[in-house]
Amino acid sequence: MSTNDNATLGKDIGLTSCPTCHKVTCGKSSNCSRCDSPLKIRDYASIQKSWALLITAAILLIPANIYPITTLTNQGRVTQDTIFSGIAHLVKTDMIPIAIILFTASILVPILKIVGLTIYLSAISFKLPISKKKLMSGFHIIEWIGRWSMLDLFVISLTVAVVNMGQLLDAKPAPAATAFALVILLTQLAAKVIDTRLLWDRLEAKDDSSTNA
């Protein structure tokens, strides 16, 4: 378990790693010697960008959940389903496994992503003393699981395409679909723009070895 904690950082010895191709280059050059991507030793503005994207996503999460996401016409009777009522309907008709998948992908994951990123960004912005290792593994989980929210949109697109029989049986997307798509897009971007090296820099000064002795 013991790893040397008097860590040398790339920026201490004047090296920086290219975000695109991972080549280690001299920190003074402005572009990567291998792929010409712009280099930055640290991207301090990334925290602000990420906050902005995250707050927008959090606001959009409200319309995404309270407005209907699909409109279904079944033999002349029109019903509108929100994300939640759609899942509740699945539970009622005893399709528990599908309900669990959809609940995870469309409700749990977006909320966890927004809460998780808020904690992560607060830890950097307000120097909260939270274990860096836990934050980082949480971040990797968020990065990986975030894309699964797309599941609901795929299901809607398939349903809309196949269920089009006018008054008999007809499914159409409803306003929450766009809001939901934006939530996914913005949270994915918010996670992508963060320069995670800042977390390890900022907390270093205060609690270096207390979290992982």
């Binding site: 920086t16 080549k23 280690v24 980082m136 990797h140 795929f154 395409a161 159409k172 995670t196």
Partner: protein, 208 residues
């Protein structure tokens, strides 16, 4: 400077300086501080990748053009393909949703396969040409984005969810496209397991 560059690496997530060591196959080096994967010994056989890539390309067209879902309701039958699914939402005015579906299920996987195929062909036959090397560099730079946008695995699950959802109203069955799409997903999955971006860059480094 150049000698030191190859023996050390920096963690992408926390900027820790790490001295590279030779690893046995199947082992991945993690950052000791933040546990981000750093590097592994690539099992990156160019010919194996070419075979997988060609198979995936072979399945790409039928996966997108044959029906993936068939619905029978009171005697009338409706079918849809992956492409029609994206266009249907688009035509209802939800263009953002349509574009999202189109990009992550059709465009990104297609471009990814074409890009990997081009990379393999350039590495096999075209590394002497300056122009092709430049193309390879551009393709490698886009690779990360294309991989992230490709969501075939999620689409495969969405067939099942949609089928169960609709089974409530009507008779649902899968089409030939479902088979092709699943094969496309499996081939792409194995291709991307074989693919190693750092290894691909190293071909370019060797021919500077």
């Amino acid at each position: 400077m150049e000698a030191a560059d190859n023996s050390i690496t920096l963690c992408q997530s926390c900027d820790l300086v790490i001295r590279k060591r030779a690893l046995p196959t199947g082992v991945r080096a993690l950052c000791p501080r933040c546990h981000t994967p750093l590097y592994d010994t690539p099992y990156c056989s160019i010919n194996g990748m070419l075979a997988l890539c060609l198979t995936a390309v072979f399945f790409f067209a039928p996966a997108n053009l044959y029906p993936v879902l068939e619905l029978e309701f009171l005697g009338s039958i409706r079918t849809t393909t992956v492409l029609e699914g994206a266009l249907a939402v688009y035509q209802q005015g939800y263009w953002l949703v349509g574009v999202a579906v189109l990009v992550s299920a059709v465009l990104a996987p297609g471009l990814l396969l074409v890009s990997v195929l081009a990379q393999i062909l350039i590495i096999k036959f075209g590394l002497h040409s300056r122009k092709l090397k430049k193309t390879l560099k551009q393709l490698l730079k886009m690779q990360g984005l294309l991989t992230q946008l490709t969501m075939l695995e999620i689409y495969v699950i969405s067939f099942l969810v949609a089928a169960f959802n609709l089974a409530d109203f009507a008779t649902v069955s899968f089409g030939f496209g479902t088979f092709c799409f699943t094969m496309l997903f499996i081939m792409t999955l194995f291709l991307m397991r074989e693919y190693d971006l750092e290894h691909m860059w190293s071909f370019l480094d060797e021919h500077q």
